[in-house]
Amino acid sequence: MSTLTLIQAVNDGLKTAMRGDERVLVLGEDVGPKGGVFLATEGLTSEFGPERCFDTPLSEDGIIGTAIGMAVNGLRPVAEIQFQDFIFPAFDQIVSEAAKLRYRSGGQYTAPMVIRTPYGGGIRGGLYHSQSGEAYFAHTPGLKVVIPSTPHDAKGLLLASIADPDPVLFLEPKALYRSVKGEVPEGDYRVDLSTLRTVRPGKDVTVFCYGAMVPVCERAAQQAAEQGIDCLVVDLRTLTPLDEEGVLEAAKATGRVVTVHEAPRFCGYGAEISALIAENVIEYMEAPIRRVTGFDTPFPNTLEHHYMPDERRVLDAIESVARF
């Protein structure tokens, strides 16, 4: 067990996977000797050589397209897209190819691969280094969408994703890369995909969140506790396929629900959680479901701290559903 930041846990996860399975390789922009712009791949080229961790030409479409071919032909590629904002040239390859290959071939061909990419705001990156595009991908059958929020989960979910037989989009909350530290086991361990994590038990209000919103919601829950509101905070961890039973149980436990994400509200992931609860357990609900989200605008720069939900906005929502 060692104490690592989230980015160190990602790095440890990559090294663990590459040591354990020679089919695993890492490709992307600047992932080689530089070790990636956030240093997620630091030390990989020197340990595993340039055939297993290497820089590609600057083309997201090419990175994902070639990674699919590698996966079809027996390798286990882990492709890095430098910022999730730059993934859209590869959207076609992800959505039309990787996600649909198993289905369209009747199970004859598969693309077991991981696409790692930093997402979300909080680093003053403006429109194109800050976005949260999870809903685009969660809407794509055949793709798994995974988002860790702790160093322990970052490594365990990454190892599970690399071992998974289906393509996984692994979204890393860059705001947490160095701002959270935690205990991380040595060697190989896996956190099961499609299982949520109870961050904090509670009986009054359930808060669903993921990624960089998890510590925000934890802080909001602590403040709510000071007012006597006991919050159950749930880190979803895998957005697709979702742990639906876990979500419904957590919603029923309090009857009052808040969903939180950085991404825009309209057709955002919170809408799916709200609809799932409304369709299945509305009779348990004591209050309208509230969504705390980014605005339905592009991501700003100077005012990003107002765009991103903070503990005050989350607390407002908690209070409003608690008092309804």
Partner: protein
């Protein structure tokens, strides 16, 4: 066409080097070309009779497909677009699977998930492909990387049409292949038309082959209606790829004699004169003339062989007409390796309705939740 490699002139005279192929191999090539033509005829008939929905023909392209794909070894891969199905049959795709896929029936290895004319055959390394243009090209490059990574001497042939040369995938694939120097041969079947857009409207370059230079490897123009030229060029390109010499771009200049598909009327956008001019360059006729001149074929051999092929195809059609209905469970299977709970629940809810309507098939029980 003067700059394109040619071995058989349009009138069937040998104008290049003698082919390095035995008599049996030459006659087999001719048979494979005939099968492509006969499959198109039969599939179009089925489409017009309303038995299948869509056909993307290769009539006129037989030399380009068979000439190049015949140079591949069994362990090599063929990454396909719309019109390479006949090449796949030559390499091992059983006719029964070909026809089942055209019917999209329960015998289809892809479980009827793709529209007609989207073949696959794992045993002969012919991967499933999507209808999106050019996306298969980077896959071939990545797969070639994987083959080389394991030290295999395997070549990946990446096929596309003239329209695909404008796609993102074409650029990414050629660029990555050049940088990585992987064992790939890019085969552009320039059939003159991307649906209704002339290949001349796809680029201001003098030739699609010229593009290879920008990616750091050789591009060659080939007479795509000359099966011997296609074969010779592919032999050389695969030898180079197999020995570590990196990729080649081959551009086969040929002509799509029929519409883009069975749903297309090409008379709306191209001149009858152009079609007639290309009809006079028919690749099968050209090869036949030479084979007869060489004494390798008798003048009536083609008719006999066509009758045999048609009988073979008709027998397979007869079998596939009797395919069982598709299990409804295939709606939710193969999205992921395991059917996740939400899909099991969606299917179970649907199954109640399907059972009421009498649509459920054997094996279509509810999933455990």
């Amino acid at each position: 066409m003067s700059s394109a490699l040619q071995i058989l002139a349009e009138d069937g005279r040998l104008v290049g080097p003698e082919p390095d192929l035995g008599a049996e191999e030459l006659i087999a090539l001719f048979g494979h070309m005939l099968r492509v033509r006969c499959l198109d005829e039969r599939m179009l008939k089925l489409q017009r009779a309303g038995r299948i929905g869509f056909v993307g023909t290769a009539t006129g392209l037989e030399a380009s497909l068979i000439g190049t794909a015949s140079a591949l070894q069994p362990e090599d891969w063929l990454w396909s677009g719309l019109r390479e199905g006949g090449a796949a049959v030559m390499r091992g795709l059983p006719l029964s699977e070909y026809v089942a896929q055209m019917y999209c029936n329960a015998n289809d290895t892809a479980k009827g998930r793709q529209m007609c004319n989207h073949f696959q055959h794992k045993a002969s390394h012919y991967p499933s492909w999507s209808s999106v243009i050019g996306t298969q090209l980077p896959h071939a490059v990545g797969a070639a990387f994987a083959s080389r990574n394991r030290g295999e001497k395997v070549v990946h042939a990446a096929y596309c049409g003239d329209g695909a040369t404008s796609s993102n995938g074409f650029h990414s694939a050629l660029n990555f292949a050049g940088v990585w120097k992987v064992p790939v041969v890019f085969v552009v079947v320039d059939n003159g038309w991307a649906i209704s857009v002339s290949s001349k409207a796809q680029t201001a370059a003098t030739s699609f082959a010229a593009k290879a230079q920008a990616y750091g490897f050789e591009g060659r123009d080939i007479d795509g209606n000359d099966v011997l030229a296609c074969r010779a060029a592919m032999d050389e390109a695969t030898r180079q790829a197999r020995s570590g010499g990196g990729p080649t771009l081959l551009v086969l200049r040929t002509y799509r004699m029929l519409g883009h598909s069975s749903s297309d009327d090409p008379s709306k956008y191209r001149d009858a004169g152009e079609v007639e001019a290309w009809a006079a360059r028919d690749p099968i006729q050209r090869f036949e003339t030479w084979l007869v001149q060489q004494g390798l074929l008798t003048p009536d051999a083609r008719r006999q062989r066509e009758e045999e092929i048609r009988a073979e195809i008709d027998a397979v059609i007869h079998e596939q007409e009797a395919a069982p209905p598709m299990a409804l469970r295939t709606l939710v299977e193969d999205v992921y390796e395991q059917v996740p709970r939400h899909l099991r629940a969606q299917f179970n809810a649907f199954l109640r309705v399907a059972e009421e309507r009498g649509d459920a098939q054997p094996g279509d029980g509810a999933f455990p939740l």
